[in-house]
Symmetry: C2
Subunit: 206 residues, 2 copies
């Protein structure tokens, strides 16, 4: 079952290495959703994926290594930013995308498990940070486009606008533990846009 | 050491019952900070507090019971809302208070441990929600005072304004795992206030 003599990096993409990774990522996410980070074990992931334990230990090293690769995979699978031609519709698409992920049983539980893991594991924290900074940078483009169209003031900080859209939704999800609804997404867009139009997201002079 | 024959409720405040509670709350917070919710055990809390195990089991029932009582105690100890006579200074006081709690080694670690616990424990989630809803309701008063002074539009939703001040700070703390600085607190106040002045927090008509 295991092939320790073959170097993982030399196998062609789409071959056994890719199949093993897909199975291990799927099993990692399943285990995270069902048992959380504290209930995640390398052995259980290997068993669930139908992959030899030594392969999992050699390739991912630790459960934090599994979570890091899973977050990379989830970022790779995420949709690119909207481009509707208007900033309000673009930001609404962002808010609804975040809302959909949060309220998706599998994806939402995955994020919550990694958010919990990150409070006590530095590697998990790094994986979480990398995931969100990639998503923020991707969606910040809609603000740059809006500035070019003259919809928002020059110098508006796109990454900060995107953080501001997400923040109230995650605050309800993991801090106040309140339901996160489409109304919350709409409010977040309206409030962020009002502040952005008033210039409150323009990068400050040093 | 333990006195199972004496009913806890009949002992005078400030007496043995109050001393036991204070010692158990202190030990609960110490254990949470050092080991997180998954590392919290009733036995270790009892040992650390110098209190009999049966007392801890009888009075708090479970580690989630300990966390619930701790969050109630932390809410009781929290400062009342500012009243400087101006909404900007009041909201800045709120943001700096949140920032101080987040960046306090002991208090910040406590919140993060309970936020993590709440992702997998319903009772911990309820305790977290109750804590923040009390704090939000307390500080919402500064918005009501601002509306009365004519600083913000009539109908501005005070609880939503206070959520909006905190949200970007907690988003950086537990989601993007970025540093949370005084600059972030100032930005949160400026942006929330810009949106509030533009009427974006006025309660919508049904």
């Amino acid at each position: 079952m295991d092939q320790p003599s073959r170097s993982a990096g030399t196998v062609r993409p789409g071959g056994r290495t890719a199949r093993v990774r897909a199975a291990v990522m799927e099993a990692t996410q399943d285990e995270l959703v069902e048992h959380g980070f504290h209930g995640l074990t390398m052995d259980q992931v290997a068993a669930r994926a139908g992959v030899g334990k030594t392969t999992v230990y050699r390739r991912w090293g630790s459960r934090a290594g599994l979570v890091t690769d899973l977050m990379t995979e989830l970022a790779n699978q995420s949709t690119p930013h909207a481009d509707t031609g208007g900033v309000e519709a673009d930001l609404r698409a962002n808010a609804l995308s975040v809302l959909g992920a949060i309220n998706d049983g599998r994806l939402g539980a995955t994020f919550q498990a990694v958010i919990a893991a990150a409070t006590s594991d530095e590697q998990a924290a790094g994986a979480l940070r990398a995931f969100y900074l990639r998503r923020i940078a991707e969606w910040a483009n809609v603000v740059d486009l809006a500035v070019k169209r003259g919809e928002l003031p020059a110098g508006t900080d796109g990454a900060e606008v995107i953080r501001a859209i997400s923040a109230p939704l995650y605050y309800r999800l993991v801090v106040t533990r309140e339901p996160v609804t489409e109304k919350d997404a709409e409010r977040s867009v309206a409030r962020t846009l009002a502040a952005a139009r008033a210039g409150a997201f323009v990068v400050e002079e040093l």
